[in-house]
């Protein structure tokens, strides 16, 4: 938007399967597409289901939604080996220059999957009340240190016996003051709060005031072919 902006704001959306990452992206596109030039990169575990959902929802022109296939390793694609996603973002920025914001959707993964700061400037972590009221309390890098934590589908709270206010309070306790947003696509005021957060972030990025923060790596884990890949990156 300004000459100072070197490139788009790259915003990651992570979180477990089924919490509403694609829906959050569709909501952002619908409400921000007249203000910002947008692009979306999806990461599917298998198939290109998420890209097809977003295309069929008609939230952006189809060519601005591209799928990266992650070979059943969604956490690798956003953290340990970001080359495929980085190139998808760079290609999108080149093909539709100038873009204001590129949204990168992680494949649904476990609670410890977070984006590398080499790939995104900021990240949302999406939980939902239907996944259980205790999830926020469990913490982890995404819940504790993503730039924004979203508690999604709050309209479902009464149906799944989850005390939304308590879940939000638990999340705030895990985050030491970082923002938590209770969201429902049926509550327009919550959508407006989400959009405002993105607007402020974009303004800070465009002005050169935003510094990407790394929520931290996923917990050490083991793959049969790869005994120490949780440690192949810096921890600063």
């Amino acid at each position: 938007m300004t000459e100072k902006t070197p490139r788009s704001l790259r915003l990651g959306v992570a979180g477990p399967v089924g919490t509403g990452k694609s829906s959050v992206i569709a909501t952002l596109c619908r409400h921000l597409r007249d203000e910002f030039a947008l692009g979306v990169i999806t990461n599917d575990i298998y198939t290109d289901e998420d890209a097809r959902f977003l295309k069929s929802a008609g939230v952006l022109p189809e060519e601005r939604i591209r799928a990266v296939e992650t070979g059943a390793c969604p956490h690798t694609a956003i953290r340990d080996d970001v080359t495929m996603n980085l190139m998808a973002v760079e290609d999108m920025e080149r093909d539709f220059a100038p873009l204001d914001i590129v949204l990168v959707e992680s494949g649904g993964d476990n609670l410890t999957a977070t984006f590398s700061p080499a790939l995104v400037d900021a990240q949302l972590f999406v939980l939902d009340v239907a996944g259980g009221g205790d999830v926020a309390r469990k913490g982890g890098p995404g819940i504790a240190r993503a730039d924004l934590l979203i508690i999604n589908k709050i309209d479902l709270g009464p149906h799944v016996d989850v005390d939304v206010a308590q879940m939000v309070a638990d999340a705030e306790g895990a985050r030491e003051g970082k923002p938590v947003l209770a969201l429902s696509r049926k509550h327009p005021d919550t959508i407006e709060k989400l959009c405002d957060w993105v607007r402020q972030l974009h303004a800070a990025h465009a002005a050169g005031h935003h510094t990407p923060v790394d929520p931290g790596p996923m917990a050490p884990h083991h793959h049969p072919h790869d005994s120490n890949h949780a440690h192949g990156h810096s921890h600063d």
């Binding site: 296939e69 080359t83 190139m87």
Partner: protein
């Protein structure tokens, strides 16, 4: 610019599956072969890997070796000729696209890891073996090393995919790789020997079923691997 001590560590860097160049998203044709029922057990995996090494593997190795020897001489003038010759050896449009995507990714990764002016001369979407050859030269490695790196990448990537698409014991998968070590050394030697000659004379062993399977795979909606 060859390394005095043989460059073994640089070769390991280039061949390591953890090199962040996106190779993990591909099964090297193993998934479509399993989906079609042509591989059902470990003996089938071993036959597949041997067939792949002797065909697509040798072709890739020869082109990696040829690109390496040219880059080591700082003579990249006939790279477009190499690209065209490799295109001609990959009948499947899908597999040509995969090779060029992997090539772009490898260049993106290596240009950040160990920058060199050669990477900018490779064109918009160079084939993976050619980027591997240039990367090997930039690291001070020779044509045989380049051939070995792409053979290892080709073989171990497909083998690692077996654990996700078949019910296998991962130790058995690596036992296959151990049995194939001499074969890969021999193929790397053949590739390096061919590299000095003209591009049109580089090896061209074919595997038509792999080409057909790759086209089917692209049209499948539910798949774990991109190829």
């Amino acid at each position: 610019m060859a390394r005095a001590a043989g460059g073994s560590a640089a070769l390991l860097l280039l061949a390591d599956g953890r090199l962040p160049a996106g190779g993990y998203a591909h099964s090297g044709g193993l998934e479509p072969a399993v989906t079609a029922g042509r591989i059902t057990d470990m003996a089938g995996v071993e036959r597949f890997l041997i067939g792949r090494a002797e065909t697509a593997g040798l072709t890739a190795a020869a082109f990696a070796a040829a690109a390496c020897s040219r880059a080591a001489r700082d003579d990249l003038s006939d790279l477009s000729g190499l690209e065209a010759e490799l295109d001609a050896r990959i009948p499947s449009p899908e597999l040509r696209t995969v090779s060029r995507n992997l090539g772009r990714q490898l260049r993106r990764a290596m240009a950040g890891i160990h920058p060199h002016p050669h990477y900018a001369t490779l064109g918009a979407a160079p084939h993976q073996p050619i980027v591997m050859g240039v990367a090997a030269a930039v690291l001070g490695l020779g044509p045989r090393d380049a051939a070995l790196a792409i053979l290892h990448e080709t073989n171990s990537g497909a083998a690692a995919a077996a654990a996700k698409v078949l019910r296998v014991d991962p130790f058995e998968v690596h036992a296959i790789l151990a049995r194939m070590a001499d074969r890969l050394d021999r193929l790397a030697g053949e590739a390096a020997a061919a590299a000095a000659g003209p591009a049109c004379d580089l090896p061209a062993p074919a595997s038509p079923l792999a080409d057909i399977a790759a086209e089917h795979h692209r049209r499948t909606h539910v798949r774990l691997f991109a190829s």
